[in-house]
């Protein structure tokens, strides 16, 4: 199952890798998307040897368009998967036995972007507009937000959302009035583009954003998922889970403190994103994690419940909701992340990131 994964010890600082790799437990994690700073925690942890320190030899498997991380996890293709909570809730209802063992992102990075002159300022304004989304389960927050403002899919121009490509061309060309964007990626893509009217790059002033965190329909995003059955039956796997979470949290902390270095680590791991874009992404991702309310990875019950509640109500184009019944108890567990946090606390590590201060990143044309 070791796809084209980057070996964990491939980093620049990894002299440590030469010693007794036999003692390390081999572990693989399936990401949700291609190698990029969204996953800086994992790449930094691998590069800085945190996983090794935790006794793990971690293989990071990048995602792809049709790869559903949860399926890879349940079919044994990986030991852990990184995925958004609402997407996984659907899979759980379809029979996937998986558990959210660490909620790395505490905040949602999804928003809807429009040009300042579009007249869109809130979710209610989306009615009659052409609204973009990537689908693949990334649309739930948008739909929930619209629903909360009384806007249904039928109210949109064309009666449905517009499938957004992997680029922001459609938005810039005006085909899409309000495009879905991650704070750490697509939003920056727009800011890296020359505004033909001014000859300069677009600025934040040219844009308005609808932030689902503010609208109250934010859902939980990047989480680490583990196989519930193995957790219950396999002692070693449970221990590995704690170790993996621990290393990951350390990686996140590294990225918080050393965003430039973390961005370079991701680029060195095979990302072809431009350097300024990569750094922007690292910085924005840090903002989704830090400061943490109850320690990086700890699943806040209120956020979980809110996500589940919205999943029960949000209606897809077919009229079905994401899920029709409450997920089982085992859908999330703080047992492992809390153990990891405790170990880190013992080592004197601050896992709250109270001191976190985002840096200023200047985007260049094309993300260069």
């Amino acid at each position: 199952s070791a796809d084209e994964a980057e070996p964990a010890a491939s980093g620049a600082s990894g002299d440590t890798g030469s010693e007794a790799p036999a003692e390390l437990t081999a572990v693989s994690v399936q990401l949700q998307w291609l190698t990029q700073a969204q996953f800086a925690c994992y790449y930094a942890a691998a590069d800085q040897g945190y996983y090794e320190d935790a006794g793990l030899d971690v293989t990071i498997i990048p995602g792809a368009v049709d790869i559903v991380p949860i399926d890879v996890l349940t079919s044994g293709g990986a030991d852990f998967a990184v995925s958004w909570v609402p997407k996984v809730l659907g899979a759980i209802e379809q029979g996937a036995a998986v558990t959210d063992v660490a909620q790395i992102f505490e905040r949602s990075g999804t928003m809807q972007v429009a040009f300042a002159d579009s007249g869109i300022t809130s979710a209610a304004d989306l009615a009659g507009k052409s609204v973009g989304s990537w689908g693949y389960g990334n649309e739930w927050e948008l739909i929930a937000g619209m629903q909360a403002s009384g806007v249904t899919l039928e109210d949109l121009e064309g009666g449905s959302t517009v499938q957004q490509a992997f680029d922001m061309n459609a938005f810039i060309a005006g085909d899409i009035d309000a495009a879905q964007a991650m704070t750490y990626n697509e939003y920056a893509q727009v800011l890296e583009t020359v505004n033909p009217e001014t000859g300069e790059l677009y600025t934040a002033d040219d844009l308005v954003v609808i932030d689902w965190n503010d609208e109250g329909t934010a859902m939980l995003q990047d989480a680490i998922w583990a196989d519930s059955e193995r957790l219950a039956s396999d002692e070693a796997y449970a221990e590995t889970t704690t170790a993996f979470i621990k290393g990951t949290i350390e990686g996140c902390l590294y990225a918080k403190d050393e965003p430039e270095a973390a961005a370079d680590i991701v680029t060195a791991a095979g990302s072809t994103l431009g350097t300024s874009h990569q750094l922007w992404m690292t910085n924005e991702v840090n903002k989704l994690i830090f400061p943490s309310t109850s320690g990086v990875g700890h699943i806040n019950e209120d956020q979980w419940d809110a996500t589940v509640a919205m999943a029960l109500e949000t209606v897809n184009p077919e009229g079905a909701t994401i899920i029709s019944a409450d997920p089982p108890e085992a859908a999330y567990s703080n047992e492992y992340v809390d153990a990891a946090l405790a170990e880190l606390a013992e080592e004197g590590v601050d896992t709250m990131g109270a001191d976190f201060a985002p840096i200023e990143v200047t985007l260049n044309e094309g993300g260069e």
Partner: protein, 255 residues
């Protein structure tokens, strides 16, 4: 004799299909495979029946794109082939371009066409389908136009027929079987291309989008219900064009 032949052409594939589906169902049931790993045929049938109206709606959107692409691609393919047949230079100029078009993966083109024609409209998808159809259409038609028997060419010359007359009376009718064959090949390409293009953008109400979003939620039973819809749509296109071909060839008398 005739009965036996019909039995073989109709019954054999049906029997094979039924056996394969039964085996599939049996395996899923026997090994208790979770639907998100391998959905069972009965589950797919069930989901198909349940979402029928949505599947039909989505198939209509994708089907219309495919149809428009098919018509556009077929017409331009035929026209360009006629030109290329008349002007040797033109066919030489087009040769590398058609060769390139034939091998460009549709994925590579989709984002480009969305940028060119707008991502909120279906135009980009239709053009992608049209390009996919154009290639076999152009090659087949050109081939057909060049299949003229020397005796027919001589005949036209002996009648002092004009180029236009020769085209209308000899070349085009002669190319009809080739054109129809190209159309048949193009028909399933049109559906597949229109569907894959949805993957990269545009209004989110077609079959391709429905398949991916169902699959993204691990709802594979639902995804395969839409796949079934796509297969039926493709089969419909193929069946209709193959029917047109058979009908036209029977009408004109074999060659």
């Amino acid at each position: 004799m005739r009965g036996a032949t019909t039995a073989r052409t109709m019954l054999a594939p049906a029997v094979l299909g039924v056996v394969a589906i039964a085996l599939w169902q049996l395996l899923v049931v026997a090994f208790d495979v979770a639907p998100f790993l391998v959905p069972s045929p009965s589950g797919i049938a069930d989901a198909f029946a349940r979402s029928l109206s949505h599947i039909v709606d989505a198939a209509r959107v994708t089907g219309l794109n495919a149809l428009i692409g098919l018509v556009m691609g077929a017409l331009t393919g035929i026209l360009v082939a006629i030109l290329a047949n008349a002007l040797r230079v033109m066919s030489q100029m087009l040769a590398p371009l058609v060769a390139a078009l034939a091998v460009i993966p549709i994925v590579a083109l989709a984002p480009v066409f969305y940028a060119m024609f707008g991502a909120a409209a279906h135009t980009g998808r239709q053009i992608i389908a049209a390009i996919a159809v154009f290639v076999p259409m152009y090659l087949n038609t050109l081939n057909g136009l060049r299949q003229v028997e020397p005796v027919h060419r001589d005949l036209m010359r002996s009648y002092a027929a004009t180029a236009e007359q020769a085209n209308r009376l000899l070349l085009l009718p002669g190319a009809v079987p080739y054109v129809l064959n190209g159309l048949k090949i193009g028909s399933s390409l049109a559906v597949i291309s229109a569907l894959i293009a949805e993957y990269f953008g545009g209004p989110a109400n077609g079959l391709g989008k429905a398949i991916t979003s169902a699959a993204a939620g691990s709802n594979y039973t639902g995804a395969w219900a839409y796949v079934l819809g796509a297969v039926l749509l493709g089969a419909l296109f193929y069946g209709v064009t193959a029917g047109i071909e058979a009908w036209a060839l029977r009408r004109r008398g074999g060659s």
